[in-house]
Structure formats: structure tokens, C-alpha cells
Symmetry: C2
Subunit: 306 residues, 2 copies
Amino acid sequence: MPVLIVGSIAIDHVKTPYKEKQNLLGGSASYAAIAASFFSPVQLVGVVGEDFPEKYRSLLASRLVSLEGLQIAKGKTFRWSGIYHSNMDRRTTLATRPNVLQNFSPTLPEVYQTTPYVLLANVAPSLQHHTLDQVKSPLFVVASTMDFWIKKAKKALLSLLRRVNMLIVNEHEVQELTGATNLICAGHLILKMGPEFVVLSKGEHGALLFSKSSLFSCPAYPLETVYDPTGAGDTFAGGVIGYLASICNEKNSSKITFEKLRLAVVYGTILASFSVEAFSLGRLHALTQPDIEKRYNSLHALSQFP
Amino acid sequence: MPVLIVGSIAIDHVKTPYKEKQNLLGGSASYAAIAASFFSPVQLVGVVGEDFPEKYRSLLASRLVSLEGLQIAKGKTFRWSGIYHSNMDRRTTLATRPNVLQNFSPTLPEVYQTTPYVLLANVAPSLQHHTLDQVKSPLFVVASTMDFWIKKAKKALLSLLRRVNMLIVNEHEVQELTGATNLICAGHLILKMGPEFVVLSKGEHGALLFSKSSLFSCPAYPLETVYDPTGAGDTFAGGVIGYLASICNEKNSSKITFEKLRLAVVYGTILASFSVEAFSLGRLHALTQPDIEKRYNSLHALSQFP
């Protein structure tokens, strides 16, 4: 089943304690689309400027990502730059230049309008709404966001939460959104805001998947070195929706069970663990299916008990 | 199989965002002994002053904890007071008065000297050494510690690490001990310091069990409210050694496999989850076996995937 993904496409400038790199392919939709493409065909909705390098377009196209919904607008591509501090779990945004993303208001290609699985990756909630408005009968909609939108566009975000099946947030975002410091409370508070499922991603501590009646605690894949955490959450979200679409041939969203979502969260975790092993999409785009299955087996072995 | 536990026995004064309570039974050995006693007979090594309340002595005795190694010394019982901050994962020690613990140098009762399973709960490394010196042929020795000893008695602690099979530390302690911020690196660095196994307890994020060749990621039991985190690590350690002694009838430490230790870590996690639900040993001492098995089943259900 195809997956529709809307989000940002960026040129990043990233500094970590290891290295500094410029003109990297970034953005929530780039990471999510590549991740999802390991499991399902992807329909990308996004915008770039005239300066967008051909090599990045080729990289996306090489992974069976449909670029019919990729608009090239007059002006420059969205640019983001940030710096990671020593423990890699805190970062400072140095500059954000929305450029062509500012006024992006896409009309979805007709073939995209009936896509059953939708990921509203991190981008302005108004754009997430605008995209979802054009999907005729979505079966399962996943959204993610960031602290910036929780602060600046809370009303639009809260109304979005009533339209999606799952929200994926990290620890900082969930605290910003709910005010709760206890993660279990915070997860349940978000369920009350609308989505049937919530994923709380905790980086090196794994992820929690909540429904009203169930909880799944997914371990993190153990990594001794994290080279660049940029896009880990977007990769996770792309892995979740991509895997879910690959195992569900359902016409009915009630068939999308908690058991299937557990597996989707495991695959999201695995894809994210690769993503942080190199800058930009360096590690991710070169992945093979055996690489993924090997980590699946490791993750399984390290979390099971009789 | 019996378990020998040495550690502190304290009278605590604890303040949390919920409540403030005085004259509580505390100390690493108290928590660990009660936790271990749900699985194995316990031999306690510790000291109290003449002010130690009879009701606390009775509480320990009621749980099949041998008090033959409990010394009553002239003077006052060790006292600790601390305050927990809003998110419950940071605390400030307000006062520590070692009192009778200061010069405690026990001679173990003869029957204790051949006990195969030993927990050196958090106390001065010199006292941990002194106790271990008197155990004739220990089969499996677990130690825990705290940041205070890592700072003040690092040399003695490092030499202790070469004498124990397992060290149990939390995130703050492991960073203090190794300087590493990455938890996977930190765990492996401690393995190089001596112990064959390391448990890194992460509170609401669960625990990691390391050996040179294996890793087990144990989820936390989900709690919406933590009333008093005091003693959670000690309870965890007591649960680990108590459960291990209950399933191992081994004369040979090589039979203590990683698979058995996984289960011990799961039971340690469960006991600790009860401990934090009330001040002092309020919840722990009243536990039943069905309470424990119920949480085992929950923890199993929330962590498994196909």
C-alpha cells in the first residue's frame, strides 16, 4: 500500500561534537520518505527552491519515492542550521530560514488523493491540515510535530490531533504539550486530546506506544556512538507508517491492531538507529533489507524474557 | 539458597512534592533485605543504635530476615534526610548523620560465613570489603554504591569491583564512575573494571543488563505516580540477588547464566516498582506473591513482540 508523506525538505548545516557539515539534505519529509521507502512506495508532498541540488532529487527518486508532489518554487530551499551539545540529546537551532516553505500550499496530484496511509511529518500544522483536507478517505493518519509548533500554533495543532490516528512525539514535546513530567501520565493525556495511539520516542531509552488499554515498551537499539541525531524522529515516523502500510492490506482501520503497531514501532526504532550513524541520509539511503533484519533480530534478542 | 546482605539501616526524613514524613525505616540493607526476602531467606549484616524502634526490628523479623548479624551499638541509628524535586528524578540530601554506622566493623556470625549469594548494598566500600573478606567461598557477589563513595572512596571502590560478579548502578553513578555520557559505552567501561555483569538502572526508563557479549533491556513497570523513590535502587538490588538465589541451586558460578540474570533483573524491576508507591517500606512489606506475579505478567505483555 502506498504512503503519502508531507513535510519539509531542507538544506541543513549541522555541527556535532565530532564534525561540522554544510549543504546536507535534511527536512522531516526527506528522512521520513527514505525510511518509509524500505517498506512501501512513497508519495512525497513538499517544496524546494531552484537551488535544490539535482543529486538530492536523484537520491529521493532512487528509492522509489514518487516526486509528482514535489514542487519546485521560485526562491531558495528551506534552510536549517543547528548545533548538538556533548551528550547529543540537547541541540540549539542557530538559524531557520523557511524560504519557499513559507507560502507552500500544495494541490495534491489526483493519484495521491486516495492514498490510505498518511504521514503528516513535522511542518506547520496549517500545512498538515491543508494536506489532510485533500485526502479522500484516509485509513490511518500519523502526525508528528515539534516544540516550535506547540508554542506557536497550538490551536491548529490541537484541532489536528482530533483528525489523526496516531501522534509521535518525543519527551520534550510531550511535556510541552501536556505539562506532565511523568511520561505515563503524559501519554494518556495526549490520548484524551484525540489520537487513538500515541508514540513517545525517548531516544537512547527506546519508545513507548500507548493506546487507551495497552502499552508497548520498545527498547532502543544499543549504539556506542551517535554521529548526528538530526532527523531521527522523522526517520522513526517514516519507518512506522511505511512498515504499517506494508503489512496492512486493510480496507478497515479497525483491523489495524495494537499488535501490528508494536511491529511498526520496532521497525521505526531500527530505521532511526541507522539514521543517527551518519550525517544526513548518509547511512539510511544505502541500507539493505538484511541490515534491517539483522537489527530486528538483535532488538528481539535483547528485549525478550520467558 | 540464603542471601547475605550488608548495608545501612537508617531512620529517614523524606520530603516529596506530595508529603513530608519523619522517622521512617530506611537504609540500603533494609530495602534490599525486605525485597530479597520474597524469594530467599536473608541474613542481614548491619548496625542500629539504642534508639532503633522495636516496630522496625519486628518488621524485618516478620519477613524471615535473620537478625543474628544485626548489631545494636551504643549511640544513635544512622539518620538521613532528603528532599525530592518536582520530577522525582533529582533529590537533594539535606543531612547525613552516620552515628553508629561510622565505626561499624562487624564479625559475621559463623553461619553467615558460608553463604553463597552476597549483596554488598550501598555503604562505605571499606565495609563492603570487610564483609566480603569474611565470606569463605561466595558464589555470586553483587555490589551497589552511590555517587558519594565514587567521589570519596574511589580507590577502595575500584578494588571492590575486581572482587564482585555484578555491579548495579544508576545513570548518575555510571557517569560519575566512567565519565561516559553514552550509556552503552559506560556499561562496557565498567565491565572492563572487573565485574562480569553490570546493571544500569534508569528509573522510569527501565534497566540495562550488560555482559561482555550480551545485553538485556528490561522495561520499567509503568507508574503514573511515584510517591517516594527512596530505596528504589536498593530494593532492585535485593530483588535481583534474592530471585537469583531462589532459582540457582548451583555449586558453580558458571551455571549462573545470562538467561537467569535476565529474570533476576525483571524481578528486581518489579520489586522496585512497588517500593516507590509508598513512603519507606510501606508498600513493600505488605506485598503478596500474586501481586508480584501480576506485575511480571504485565511487564511481559508490554515488552514482547513476535
